[in-house]
Amino acid sequence: MRSNSTLVAVALGVLLLAGVPMLLSQGLVNAAIQMLIAALFASAYNVLCGQAGMLSFGHAAYFGIGAFGTVHAMNALGGTGLLPTPLMPLAGAVSGLAIGAVAGWFATKRTGTYFAMITLAIAELLHALAPHLKGLFGGEAGVSAMRMPAMGLNFGSTTQVYYLTLAWVLASLALLYFYTVTPAGRLALGLRENGHRLRFLGYHVHGLSVLVFSISAMFSGIAGALQVINNEAANYVVFDASLSASVVLNTYIGGVKVFLGPALGASLMTFFGYAVSDLTQSWLLYQGILFVLVMMFMPEGLAGLLGLAAREQRRLGLARFAPVLLACVAASVLLAAGTTFVVELLQRMFSQDYRALASANAAAPWPPITLLGHAWLPAAAVTWLVPAGLLAGGGVLLLAVRRRLQPAQAESEPAAHAPAPLVQSPGGAA
C-alpha cells in the first residue's frame, strides 16, 4: 500500500514538473533548470557519499569534465556536433565515466580521510592545471558552443531546453534509483557499513569502489553536460572549490539516507540562492549556518525531518500533531527572521558605503540603516532588541516542542526504520 502512494506521489511530481513552463515565468523556468541540474548532481554525489560512505571533497571535477566533454562534442565536426542535441548529455556521461574510473581507481586505494584528501587533491590539481591547458579548457573566457537544431526543434527557447533537461534528469534519477536495488547497489551500502567485512566475504572491495565511483562520476558528468547545453558555454571556474563545497552542503542539508533527500536539498538551496541573491549578499553565510545546524541537530537532513514529522503525525494523530507542527514552523520562522535581521544589519553596518558615510559625518557617527523599509539606528537598543526578541521567541517555542516530543521520540525510534525506498531509507528487505 505504501509503495502505491509513493508511486502516485512520484507521478504527481512528474506532472507538476512537466507543467512548469506553462505555469511560471521564463526567469523562473531558468531557475527550475538550475534546480534540476543541481538535484541530479547531488543525487549522483550521494551514490558515493551517502550510500557507499566515501566522502568526496572534489566532485566538481567530474561535473566539470562532463561539461568540457560536452562542449567539445558540441563543437565537433565543424560545429554540427558529435551527437544530436537531445543525445548530447551522453558526451558528458562518457567523459565523466572515463575520468571518474581513472580518478576513482587511484582514490579508492585508500579509505576515509585519506580518500577525501585524494579527491580534494585531484580536484585542486585540475583546478590549477586547467588555466594552462587553453586548448582543452579555453582560458579565462572558457569554451562556447551552440545548440544545434534536431528532431524538428531548434532548441532556441528556454522551454525546449527545460524539457530536455527534465527528460534527462528524470531518466537519470530513475536509473540511479534502479541502481540502488541492484546487487551492486546493495553492495555499495555494505561498503559504507563495513568494507572490511566485505573482504572476508570474498568481495574485491577495490573493484567495487571503483565501480561506484565511476557511476557517481558518470551521472555528475551528465549534470555538467546539461549545464553546458543550457549555458552554451563551459569555463574552468567550474573546477572551483565552491561547486564541490555546495554539492556537499546541499546533499547533507537534504538528507543522505533517503534517495530523494539530496535532490530535495539541492533544489531548495538552488531556489533560495536564486530567489534571495538580489536581496542579500550573505546568502552563502545562511547556507553555511543551515548546514552546520543540520550537522549538529538534524543529521538526517530535511528529508529526515519530513520523515520525523510524518511519524509524529501518525503517532499523535492529526489533532494533537497540528499545534506541534505549527509551533515548529513558527519557531523556525522566528529563528530565521531573527538571524537574518542580525546578519543583514551587520552586513550593512560593516559595508564600505556605510563606513564611508559614518566616518564622513563626525556629528552623527552611526547613521540609520534602511532595512525592510524602516530606518534602524545602530546605537538604539530597539534595533538589537527586535532580533533578540525574535530569536528568544523562536528558541522558547523550540524548547517547548522538544520537551513535548522528547519522551515519545525515544520509543518511536526503532519503528522509524521501516523500508519504503523513495520516501524513506533504502535499507530494508526488498
Partner: protein, 313 residues
C-alpha cells in the same frame, strides 16, 4: 647564483610559514583523528584580528593578542561544536569543520569586505636584512622564519620535556587510558585544539602582514596545509616540518625554472614531436609550480599513505 639563493631562502621561509599552520593541524589530527578543515580559517582569523587590533594596540600588541583570541575561538569550536558531533563519527566531524570553515570565511567577508585589507608590515620592520647580489632581502621574512623555528623548538620541548607534554601525548595516544588515570582528557582535547588554533592564528598575524590578507587566504593556504600534513604524515610534528620545507622549496624553485617537458625530451631527440603534441608537454615548469605539491601529495597517498615520517596506517 644569487637568484638561486633568493629562491632557496624564500622557499625555506614559505615552508616555515606552512609549518606554523600545519603543526597545529597535524597534532589535532593525531589526537582526535579529525582533519580540521577549519584550521586554515584560524590562520585567516589571526591575520584579520591582528589587522583589526593594530589600530588600537599597535603592531606588537596586536601580534600578541590576536593568537590568544584565535585560541579562544578554537577552544569554543571544540567545546561547543565538535564535541557534540563526536558520537556520529569522524566523517561527520570532518563535515562539520568543513561547514565551520565556510561560515568563518563568509563572516570575514561580512565584517571586513570581500577584498584584501591593508594589513601591512610596520615601517619600523620594513628594512633589508642583507644584500643578495642585486636585491635586498627583507628582514621581515627572516622574522617570520625565526618565529616558526622558535615555535617548533618550543612545541617540541613542551611535548617531550614537560609534564603537560607527557599528559598531552598520552591523551593523543591513548585517550581512554589517560582518562582512567585521572587526567581530564576533555580538557586536554580542548586545550590542544585551542593551542593549535592559536599557533595558526600567530602564523596568520605574522604572515598576513607580509603576504596579502584577504578572505580567500584560508582556502589558498588550507589546501597547501593539507598537502603538508598528508606528505609529512598525519600526527607527526617532525614530518610536518620536513614536508613544509620540501613543499616550500619545490614551489619556490620551480617558479624559477623555465624549462618544459619538451626540453627534457629534447635529450632523446623528441623535441619536435613534443612541441607538436603541445598541451602538458609544452607547459613551463614555472607555470606548473602550483600543481607540483598536489602531484607530490597524490604520489605519497598512493605509495606511502602514512606519509614520510608518519606511523604505519
Amino acid at each position: 647564483m644569487d637568484t638561486l639563493l633568493v629562491s632557496l631562502l624564500n622557499g625555506i621561509i614559505y615552508g616555515l610559514v606552512l609549518f606554523m599552520v600545519s603543526a597545529g593541524l597535524t597534532l589535532i589530527f593525531g589526537m582526535m583523528g579529525v582533519l580540521n578543515f577549519a584550521h586554515a580559517s584560524f590562520y585567516m582569523l589571526g591575520a584579520y584580528f591582528a589587522f583589526a587590533l593594530q589600530g588600537v594596540l599597535g603592531f606588537w600588541g596586536a601580534l600578541a593578542l590576536s593568537p590568544l583570541l584565535v585560541g579562544l575561538v578554537g577552544a569554543v569550536v571544540e567545546r561547543f561544536f565538535l564535541r557534540r558531533v563526536h558520537r556520529y563519527g569522524h566523517a561527520h566531524e570532518l563535515l562539520l569543520t568543513f561547514g565551520l570553515s565556510f561560515i568563518i570565511a563568509e563572516l570575514v567577508k561580512l565584517f571586513f569586505g570581500n577584498f584584501p585589507v591593508n594589513y601591512r608590515i610596520p615601517a619600523s620592520l620594513d628594512f633589508a636584512a642583507f644584500r643578495l647580489g642585486s636585491s635586498d632581502y627583507p628582514a621581515y621574512r627572516l622574522l617570520m622564519g625565526g618565529v616558526a623555528v622558535a615555535m617548533f623548538v618550543l612545541i617540541y620541548l613542551l611535548l617531550t620535556r614537560t609534564r603537560v607534554g607527557i599528559v598531552v601525548r598520552s591523551a593523543i595516544y591513548r585517550p581512554r587510558m589517560a582518562e582512567a588515570l585521572g587526567h581530564n582528557v576533555p580538557l586536554v582535547f580542548m586545550g590542544v585544539f585551542g593551542v593549535g588554533a592559536a599557533l595558526a592564528g600567530l602564523a596568520g598575524a605574522v604572515a598576513g602582514a607580509f603576504y596579502t590578507t584577504n578572505p580567500n587566504m584560508a582556502l589558498e593556504l588550507g589546501v597547501m596545509v593539507f598537502v603538508v600534513v598528508v606528505v609529512g604524515g598525519l600526527g607527526s610534528l617532525e614530518g610536518a616540518m620536513l614536508a613544509s620545507l620540501l613543499i616550500g622549496l619545490i614551489t619556490s624553485l620551480a617558479v624559477a625554472v623555465d624549462a618544459t617537458l619538451a626540453d627534457a625530451l629534447a635529450l632523446v631527440g623528441a623535441r619536435a614531436w613534443a612541441e607538436e603534441v603541445g598541451g602538458l608537454l609544452t607547459l613551463k615548469v614555472s607555470s606548473l609550480a602550483a600543481t607540483l605539491p598536489f602531484a607530490l601529495m597524490l604520489l605519497i597517498l598512493l605509495v606511502r599513505p602514512s606519509g614520510l615520517l608518519g606511523e604505519k596506517a
